[in-house]
Amino acid sequence: MTTPILEIKNLHVKVEEEDKEILKGVNLTLPAGEVHAIMGRNGSGKSTLSYVLAGKDGYEVTEGQILFHGEDLLEMDAHERAAAGLFLAFQYPIEIPGVATMTFLKAALNAQRKSRGEEELKIPVFMKMVKDAAAKLEIKQEMLKRPLNVGFSGGEKKRAEILQMALMQPSLCVLDETDSGLDIDALKIVSEGVNHLRSENRSMLVITHYQRLLNHIVPDRVHVFSDGRIVESGDRDLALELESKGYAGFDNHAA
């Protein structure tokens, strides 16, 4: 059997310099080509899981491990994880005034290529890549001329995240509440962008509150997250069940 893209084993995490444990024994296996959804209420630890995967400072793993393509993910710095093929689409993409979007995209792509021992992209090749990917997501060129995420609407920010994802061609996409702040049309565009990237070599972890996104990005598996762990897993019908019963119906379940 081939190595899963992501394996999380008994992951316990707390915030550095605090005692409160946020993740309390997460187990998850994400095989290549599959899309898994993690659903849970606010404060259940979903976003922490996405930050720990991406390598944000400030968290301490007290127990357990994460394997990415069979390698110890926790040994890698955030930028190494990105170069190795992990991409986090942020719930709230950060606005960075003074950094032009195109400058950022070029720096990010080339940094990843460099760490993989590949040559830098030629400017015309880069320009064309961005133009093509942007057109699919209905991102106007004018938006790319602005500083990174500055003055973007909620929907534009999310589209910009998916644009980055399309350009970076990661093997694992973690989408943290990508549906938040999107109207129906934007949700459709973003979902199509994501679906377009589904492939047998790429897995996705879709974190969301609502079933709605899963009508557009249909998952292979659904996991219910509560109080820092997965309490129930099933196929996409579980999401529908969750929608009718609410999260309360799943509290105190053992995984």
Binding site: A54, G55, K56, D57, G58, D77, A78, H79, R81, A82, A83, F87, L88, F90, P93, I94, I96, P97, G98, V99, F104, A107, A108, L109, A111, Q112, S115, P147, Q164, M168
Partner: protein
Amino acid sequence: MNKDIKLSGAEEQLQALLLSHGNKEAAAQFAANGLPTRRIEAYHYTDLKSLLREVPSALAVANDGASAKRSNFDGVARIEIVNGQLAGDFDVEGVSVATSGNTGTGDDSVVLLSEALVGDVVEIKISGELDQVLHIDRIIDGDAAINADKVSVTLEDGAKATLVETYNGSDAAHLRLATTEVVLGEGAEFSHFQLDGNSSATRHFANNRYELNADAQLSTFVQQSEPQVSRTTVSASFVGGGAHADFAGLNMLSGTQHGDITVHLRHLVADTTSTEVFKNIVNGRGKAVFQGKIDVAQPAQKTDAQMMCQGLILSERGEVLVKPELEIFADDVLCAHGATCGELDENSMFYLMSRGIPRTEAKAMLIRAFLAEVFEPVDVEAVVHVLEARVDSWLQEQEEA
């Protein structure tokens, strides 16, 4: 006047120098006050009695400056002032260069020293619109010396010019006292850049004074990043309606460097406007100071003066010290002052790193982004290159430190 002030060794030396320069009056005035201490409000964060414990014993003497580092830009009209002596002439239509004796004086001890020790004033008169950028390279050559020089620029009504000044010198512990005076005639437009190429051991004091007549437009930029101690004072008087000025500057400090930019604007008549944007980056035990004073006189209705100062602290022991002072006697004015200070934003760092950008590079991107606002209005390509190159090399030095 306090006759009993005890002078430090450095102060006694400066007093002796004033006497040997034949200026008894200035020597007596200096002896009565000494170097400014923190008790003087304008020097609140820059106590010169303690920062200037040692000063060179002699004035810089005439020298061809053959061994000094210089700044050279393509396509500009260039003159040099080497150890206070004018070398060269601007070969530009509408510009005349002459020298004259100095009669300036001042209450502030640094201004007093600067004025009293100047030999010739370099006087530049500008009429009409210049096509070429003017460049003055102010050089101190030879062994450690006290060097006072002065440039006086007059823009006639409607004149339009850009002046880039560079400070360069030999690698010695000079005490530089530089004065630049600019009078903008009615409707004149002037862009003024001061780039720092001083040696690291230099103590640099620059006094910039501007007078803006009706409808004059001024923009200025000061860089401080090289000397052990540097202080630039920018003062401007708005004496004609419709005058507008943008003041900008940068302290970029590390090690134990001390950099002070002190601005004093006087809005004296109705309908004048000003903006100030100053950025400070400190690493190590660097200390950046910004003081911004705005006076709005009673007749100066409709004054609009906006002051902003931002600090970025890259180390535990770096300091950014900021003080605004506003004195407003008119009732229909818009005056605002703001200051921010902080470390690099962790969330921004994480965002960039999560996209594959290594920490060092991410940090550099955010530092350049912090500076973007103050570099953006710089429209002289040669200046942009110098500033960007210095930021790059500075970032490199911080990584290696």
